[in-house]
Amino acid sequence: MTRRPFSARSVRGYALADFLDWPNGIARLGVILVASVTLVLSVVYLWRAVDTLGDTAGRNAALNFDDREFAGGNSLVVDKRALYEARALIPEDGSYRVVPGPGVEGATELTEPYIDQFARSFLMPRRQLPDASWILCYGCDLSELGADVEVVWENGAGIALARHAG
């Protein structure tokens, strides 16, 4: 039997008995089955994907500017203004350190362990250094930071931006 390329027209060119030949006919029958299943699934799932992507696009467009900018950080950042204040106050070539602690109202279980990671990315190009003069206190005990520390901004719920006076 002449082998024709796989297409709807060539399938019609074969007699039913051709598809029962062992092994090539059975293989071709299998190809038709696989292609049919694929065709149906691809169209069904395309429909779903486009629908889901449309919903995602709508949700993304409806986000507030800050919600979009914080995105993954929304799961751990308690007061976005603190990081915005830090971005505004700490010079781009400056440095800071994050002192997390348990004293943040409304903190999630991710806040204390990961706020420094998020701040590192959000506040770039400002660097995190252990001896930085700027301090982002996220639930820390301000009195433990030293006597020369001046609070520049605080939200009254456990988050503060402070600076060593020296």
Partner: protein, 460 residues
């Protein structure tokens, strides 16, 4: 988020395409504008790989990373490609049979693929940076390269997974330069360009040799599989790795059939890029080379030295990065049980394999892509094809063994393993198996139909 950022990204990706076109001209050439258009997806992905690898090596060498560096590097690569084409005997364009045009099936599914990519673009344009790994270290690395003009040791040391290679961060930092700011929202569209490039590359390589009915529906099914569709714009390295790997595997498969040297050279570049994209790239590359070795057993005298050379070149491009992080005593590259520690934990082998199989065949993640790939291999073998189905069979088997090894050897992972699919490493790894299916299954179905995996013009 601005129109300027969108234009900047478009300019960058056109530039990358230009670099890739020059590389393709050097490697292979083309006979007509239509052939170049057909291979433009491959050219783009070669451009991504070439620019990504070179920028990574430059970063390691301490070359300051700036807009000028990116432009000069791209121009240098394009220039070197053109010079290479002139000084060596040009590779004759492959004697591939050009297709019969797009055809009705190709047109219908072409529209559907474009529709999907348009919807994907719309979803990605204003997406926030939500994926954990993306905001925790992939994008911060890119921002560090952008802001500090290089591999800032302090940042790389502090961030999670400091030994993950910087190819994607380098490309993302390039995107920031072209966008004019570290716009992590519009950055999602850089991943959209990668997805488009991969799709066009597979379609362009296979269109002249595989019937549209075997090619387009399966490629579309892979693209719209729920996990692929929902994660392929996350600005992290998983899908770029999968694209490099899948294209390399496809080119190696075609080389096994056609023996066109350019195919193996391009595959070697893509494997090198895969190894510089994520550490798993080494595992995936090893699977491709080993599978090709088994499939070419009969021609081993010819094939194996060439495969070994391709693998060596791929590995070589990753050496500078390994030296960089080793010399700084950054760690985290090897499994916690070590390579031989596996045998102290034999009880983990079966649960690990069982879990991997449950993920590979998870309908909700991948629809029926892996089972259909398995059926396609069986059908191709049944019809008498040997090289291609053997390559695919060994590749899939090695991939599953490799994923099992990952779960088995990282003993800090408790078994049975339960983790959200968003961050689950086995789900991420399995993406490579699914994406490569989009490239290999159309070839397998064609081989099963024709009863041979040789190109049509060789049989008469």
């Amino acid at each position: 988020m601005t129109a300027r950022a969108l234009v900047g990204l478009a300019v960058l990706n056109t530039f990358v395409l230009g670099v890739g076109v020059a590389a393709l001209w050097s490697l292979r050439g083309w006979r007509s504008a239509a052939e170049l258009a057909r291979l433009s997806g491959l050219a783009y992905m070669l451009g991504v790989a070439l620019l990504g690898v070179t920028l990574t090596i430059e970063l390691v060498l301490g070359v300051p990373f700036s807009f000028a560096t990116i432009v000069l590097t791209g121009l240098g690569l394009a220039g070197a490609s053109l010079v290479l084409r002139r000084v060596r005997t040009p590779t004759a364009p492959a004697s591939e049979v050009e297709g019969r045009g797009l055809g009705a099936v190709g047109a219908v599914f072409g529209v559907l693929v474009v529709l999907y990519l348009e919807a994907l673009f719309r979803a990605g344009r204003l997406a926030g940076l939500s994926a954990w790994d993306a905001w925790a270290f992939w994008v911060p690395k890119a921002k560090a390269i952008y802001f500090f003009g290089g591999l800032d040791e302090q940042f790389f040391r502090e961030l999670a997974n400091p030994t993950y290679p910087p190819l994607l961060p380098a490309l993302e930092a390039s995107a920031f330069h072209f966008m004019g700011s570290a716009d992590v929202v519009t950055l999602h569209l850089q991943l959209w360009f990668f997805a488009c490039g991969f799709t066009a590359a597979v379609a362009g390589l296979l269109a002249p040799r595989v019937p549209a009915l075997a090619l387009w529906p399966f490629l579309l099914l892979v693209l719209v599989a729920p996990r692929v569709s929902s994660r392929n714009l996350d600005p992290q390295a998983d899908f770029l790795l999968d694209y490099f790997f899948a294209l390399a595997a496809l080119l190696v498969a075609l080389w096994l059939l056609d023996r066109q040297p350019w195919q193996l050279v391009a595959a070697s570049l893509l494997l090198g890029a895969a190894m510089l994209t994520k550490r798993e790239g080494l595992l995936l590359a090893a699977c491709v080379i080993a599978a090709a070795g088994v499939a070419s057993w009969r021609d081993r005298r010819y094939a194996w030295p060439r495969l070994a050379l391709a693998a060596a070149c791929g590995v070589a491009v990753g050496i500078p990065w390994r030296i960089w992080f080793s010399s700084r005593e950054l760690s985290g590259e090897l499994p916690s049980a070590g390579f031989l520690g596996l045998f102290d934990n034999l009880d983990r082998a079966w649960p690990a394999l069982r879990y991997v199989l449950s993920i590979v065949f998870d309908y909700d993640l991948w629809v029926m892509v892996p089972p259909l790939a398995g059926v396609a291999i069986v059908l191709a073998l049944l019809a008498g094809a040997r090289v291609l189905p053997m390559f695919a069979l060994v590749l899939y088997a090695l991939l599953i063994a490799g994923f099992t090894w990952v779960l088995w050897s990282f003993i800090e992972i408790e078994l049975p393993f339960v983790q959200d699919e968003g961050v689950n490493p086995i789900v991420r790894l399995t993406g490579s198996l699914v994406v490569v299916s989009g490239a290999l299954v159309p070839l397998l179905l064609d081989a099963a139909w024709r009863g041979s995996d040789r190109p049509p013009q060789e049989r008469s």
